[in-house]
């Protein structure tokens, strides 16, 4: 079992990395880009067990440690 966690900056937080990447893409000629947000991707390998209880404990870890709720949002996905 694997958990995939995507952490992105909250909309209200200025994201200079995203802005810089967006500018670069525009300079390269890629059109129609509205915004870029640079975040983090974490892959957690798991021993297995009950999917729901794994989700519950990892959700807590995301909230407490893997993301900072003041500045970031996260998406947690558990894959088999």
């Amino acid at each position: 079992m694997k958990a995939k966690i995507i952490v992105t900056p909250k909309k209200a937080v200025v994201d200079p990395q995203g802005k810089t990447v967006q500018n670069a893409l525009e300079h390269m000629g890629y059109r129609g880009i509205k915004a870029v947000h640079v975040g983090k991707y974490l892959e957690v390998e798991l021993d297995g067990g009950d999917k729901e209880s794994v989700r519950k404990s990892l959700d807590e870890a995301c909230h407490k440690f893997l993301s900072n709720p003041v500045i970031e949002d996260y998406k947690l996905e558990i894959a088999d």
């Binding site: 200025v14 200079p16 440690f65 893997l66 900072n68 003041v70 500045i71």
Partner: protein, 232 residues
Amino acid sequence: MKFAVLQFPASNCDQDSVHAVRVLGHSSRLVWHKECSLGDADAVIIPGGFSYGDYLRTGAIARFSPVMQAVRAFADNGGPVLGLCNGFQILCEAGMLPGALVRNRDLQFHCEHVFLKTNNLESSFTNSIPNGKILKIPIAHGEGCYFADQATLETLKANRRILWQYCDARGNLTEIANPNGSLLNIAGICNEQGNVAGLMPHPERASESILGSDDGKWIFQSVIAAFEEKRV
């Protein structure tokens, strides 16, 4: 007065902090992050550096070090805690100060002297700063852009908890004097009780005139003065 100066893996301003306090005639003890007690310390300094390599987020891992439980208990008991640079980031991650410190708006690491305006001369961290004095203190950080939601900013403002703001040499809070994009030019704040403060600049690197400025000493002097006043 006895200071405890914390040491995390990759702290790098611990000895500077010890020195700054020594110059003012007071002693400190270095406390390794795995220790669970602060001993008989009267104040805690969380120094600058790159604790745990800044992995995940600045300060995110250090806040779970055993010593931080002792720091929290010490602060809950009213003890003064001063976080400098990475120390400020750790205090925010630990939830002991509101908000967070994110990447500088220009994505560059800034290592330069800045000017600071002190807003509240009555706190335990500012009481000795001469009225109207603009402090010249260096910064050295890549993640010093202070962010908090609007409600938090309003609370900080209303309760005079924004202790220091980036300004120009004359004390004007301009955009250009803001080195990292911090909201409201915030360089340092304190908690509601007024006994926990954090600031991104490095007063310990500006505590003797040989270093180009000794303005930082006023901040340590304030902690000492507040302690001595309490003892009388």
